[in-house]
Structure formats: C-alpha cells, structure tokens
Symmetry: C2
Subunit: 291 residues, 2 copies
C-alpha cells in the first residue's frame, strides 16, 4: 500500500479463499495489484522484481509455491530449497505487502484435471529436455492470475523462454494482466542469480562462471562486428566443453518471437544456454542486438 | 442495467478491445456482470438463460460465436445456422444489454497456440466421439471469461457434459465466475430445443421425438420403482432402434461427478443420449434421482 504505516508487517496468506477475499477488497477500492510469482528461496533477482512491482502498483503480492507439475519425475522437486521465514523477511524489506503461500493440496486437490498449454514454442529449448515443464508453468501461473487478478506480473528474464511462453498465454487467452519482464540480476563475478545456486559446491560454482563469461564474450564479438550466430554458438560450446564437469543440454541462438534457430544476427536474438553441473541444472542467456 | 431507460436498445460489440473497455467501466462501478455464452441462432432455451441472467445481475452480455475449435473436421461448422439480426432482437427482448460477436480472426489470430484442457471427464460421452471438442469448448469459454469477467455465467443442461466440464475447469483453475446450470427447455411435443433442430426435415423432426419420449419413459419407470440402470438404458436403445433412420452414438447412465457408468440407481444419475438423424447430431438427457 502506498500509505502504509510504520508498524506494517507483511501478511502471510496460506489459503486461496483468504487470498481471494483480500484481493476482492482492493479491487473494490480500484487499487492496482502486482504479482511476483516465485518458487521461494528468494535471491536478489526476485527482490529486484518486488522492488519494481512496488514502484508501480498499490499492492504487491509475492507468491511462493514450489510447483510440482513443472518438475519432471527425476528432477529436483524434492531438494528444491525452501525457507518461508527468510523469504517473508526479504519480501517485506523489498516492499511486498503479502506473501501468498498456498499448500500443494489446495492448489492441486485430489482429482485435479485441468491444464493450460501453450503449444509450439514450448517444444524448444528447455521444453525439449523437460517435457511437461511449461504446461506446469502456464497452469500454475494461470491459476495464480485467476486468484490474484494482478494488473501487472513481474518475471525475471533469466527464464527467458518462460517469460515468452507466459506472454503468449496472456495474449492467446485474452488475460488482462500485463507481463513485465525484468533483467537478469548477476553476482559480482557474473553468475546469474538462481535459487539453485545454493546446491552448487564451491568448486562447481567456480566452474559455472563459464556460462556468463561465454555470453559476455559473445556480446563483445557482436560489438566487434560478428554476425554469424553459428560461430558464436560454437565458440560458447567450445568454452563449456573445456570444463569436463559440465554437460550441455543446449546452446542456441533463437528468434525472440517463435524460438526458431537463426544463423544470422539481425534485430534481436536470444542466446540461451542450459547445462548440468553434477546434479544442478543451470540456465543463462543474453539478448543481443545486431545494430 | 437495472435502471435502463425506455429508449435503450441492445448494443452489438464486435471487438475484444471494445468489450474489455465496456466491462472495465462496469467493474469500476461494482456492477455485477452475467454472461450467456452461445453459438447463436437462439431458441427458447437460450432465451430462458438470458431471462434468468437478467433477474440476478446488473449487466447481461450474450456472446455469439460459432467456435471452430470445438467442431471436428467432418462436423457441421460450415452449416451451423447463423443469423445475427434475429439473435440481437431476441436477446434484447429477453433482457440482454450487449451482444458480443467477435470475429474468428480476432479470437484465433494467426499463430494462436494456447489451449485449456480438462482431462478424464472429457474422454467420455460426447468427448469419446468428438475428440478435441471439449478442449475447444473450455478454451473459448476461458477466453470469454477473461474478456468479460462475469460474476455469473449461464449454461443450459441440454449439454449436461459441457456444464460439468466447465464447472470442473472453473474449480480447477480457481476462476471466480459462478456457473449457473439451467433446465432443458423443450418444444410442446417434448423435443429438446437446439439450434440444430432447424436442420431436420419435418419427417426427421417427428422421428427425433423418440429421444425425449424414451427419457420420459425412463423417468416413469424409476418413479414406479425401477433401479436397474442397465434395463433402463437397454429399453431406451430398443426404442431408438425401432427408428431405422437413427444411428445411436451412445445411450448411457452415468454418475454426475465423474461421468463413470453406473448400474444401480442411487442418488442422482444422468441418462444421456446422442444420436444422428441423417446428418444432424442430436443430444438429450434427463437427471433421475432414486431418492
């Protein structure tokens, strides 16, 4: 709230019914509502979203939900880091008014059977190696939008494909929420902020720097005039191959609209990387522009 | 509107943008909005929905959209009857404030790729013989709900499975619209009202009476104590088989919640019929209760 008093503390809401009632109240007052959907274990990337949300909206809701339907069977749903108390403190400091933390049982009750699916662009990049992942993402985001009816929702561009998929869902389903994509926030040494970074050992974390370094190198090459995206991609792959602990899932240069691979840099292009270091899946990307 | 003046005439809205703006205005005024989603060529069944909507809401929107994604390739999308002028007059007489008639090109623009799907209960009854039909229905209804944000939406129980599928979507996706199922409206001789009835010849229309007659007979048998649903279903099938012009798609007695077949009448049961007479697909049903 714009005029919040000094004794204000963040409110944690744990049921859909209560969340809907709070929203109803603010809607009647014609206040603008922002949603920052997260899986918790907040880092500075999330906090930058909350801060931006606070600047432009009356009420800021941070949702925290480790969404089982977007994890594959052998993925890290079980070990995904969780810490509600820490997340609530950080959300409050960043300016959030509410933390919405529903239970898995209320979000997906027995007999749950409805899914929202964006086709085509979800078959590429992360979608190719994580079948069902984006169906889980669009379903939970659609549900959160229906519960919270946000005027604006804030997403980090580290998950660039996720942002594009959600924008496509919003456009196709005529949703009224405006999607605000926000820049990747990086550690001082370049590593893209991710809740999964805490699962890296010190050594693995050092190795992971090859991702951001390769992307910055690509940027420099484009600045110097390189337009051949195959060369840029090969160069990134070669850098990563130098680190035997890393397995590449993909390195691709794609069109920002349909995620189709492109060979020649013209306009905006997304260079996206996904790898595994030990059991930790990491992604990173950069958007390059050819003049 | 509750206080509409005598010179009021119904407004026809043909774009999503304009519809959203009208809705925004009423939302700011905290008025309640009702949606009656139709494929047009309105009959007394639709009009009963509009009248009921008018009784309980401030603003009534009738949408008219022959939705291509819910028709199979060899179905009757092309010959589905259409008449906007007639529909607008009838909607106005019944108490509607707006007709929303978007174009196919705006609802499904080039590159459209997002679908809402309820699983399991959509595999049964009409879903079994019309693959993709209910995915088309839930997708268009979800879009209309996002555009019109209705407090209540009115559906006829002639399409009983459709009502149950939409209720499931609303529940699973946490939508805020209340679904109001309304009773089947019948011609004096018993034929369930349907826009498709105009595609029947006089003779076919006479033959079609076997559907409602068989359902009323089933009701009488239950009143007289019959609880064996296999017997009831067999009897309906035998009646229909007496009409050589009719092909049965299904006759089933199912649980109202999961649409699973049941054999013994306890609580509420849906007896549902789908047939083809010449090229016209007709459905009818009755809900029976075994005290």
């Amino acid at each position: 709230m714009k005029n919040r008093s000094s004794e204000n503390t963040i409110k944690i809401i744990k049921t859909i019914t209560e969340m809907k009632e709070v929203i109803k109240k603010y809607k009647k007052m014609n206040l603008s509502i922002a949603l920052v959907p997260t899986m918790g274990y907040l880092h500075k990337g999330h906090l930058s979203l909350i801060e931006k949300a606070k600047e432009n909206n009356d009420v800021v809701v941070v949702s925290i939900f480790v969404n089982p339907t977007q994890f594959g069977e052998n993925e890290d749903y079980g070990v995904y880091p969780r810490n509600l108390e820490r997340d609530s403190c950080l959300s409050e400091e960043a300016g959030a008014d509410y933390v919405f933390k529903p239970s898995v049982e209320e979000i997906y009750p027995k007999g749950y059977n409805t899914y929202v699916k964006v086709e085509k662009i979800t078959d590429k990049l992360c979608g190719a190696s994580r079948p069902g992942h984006f169906r889980g993402v669009t379903t939970i985001v659609n549900k959160l939008f229906n519960i919270i009816e946000p005027n604006r929702a804030y997403f980090g561009l580290k998950d660039a494909q996720q942002v594009l998929v959600i924008m496509k869902m919003v456009e196709d389903l005529n949703l009224s929420t405006e999607i605000i994509p926000c820049p990747i926030i990086r550690e001082k040494d370049g590593l893209a902020m991710s809740s999964r970074n805490v699962n890296l050992t010190k050594n693995e974390r050092q190795i992971a720097l090859v991702l951001s370094k390769s992307l910055f190198e690509a940027k420099d090459k484009v600045k110097a005039g390189e337009r051949d995206l195959d060369k840029i991609v090969s160069n990134i792959k070669a850098n990563i191959h130098n680190e035997p602990e890393i397995t590449i899932d993909y390195v691709e240069a794609v069109n920002m609209l349909n995620l189709e691979r492109i060979k020649l840099l013209e306009g905006k292009v997304l260079i996206a990387i996904a790898v595994k270091i030990a059991k930790v899946r990491l992604i990173d990307n950069i958007i390059l522009e050819g003049n």
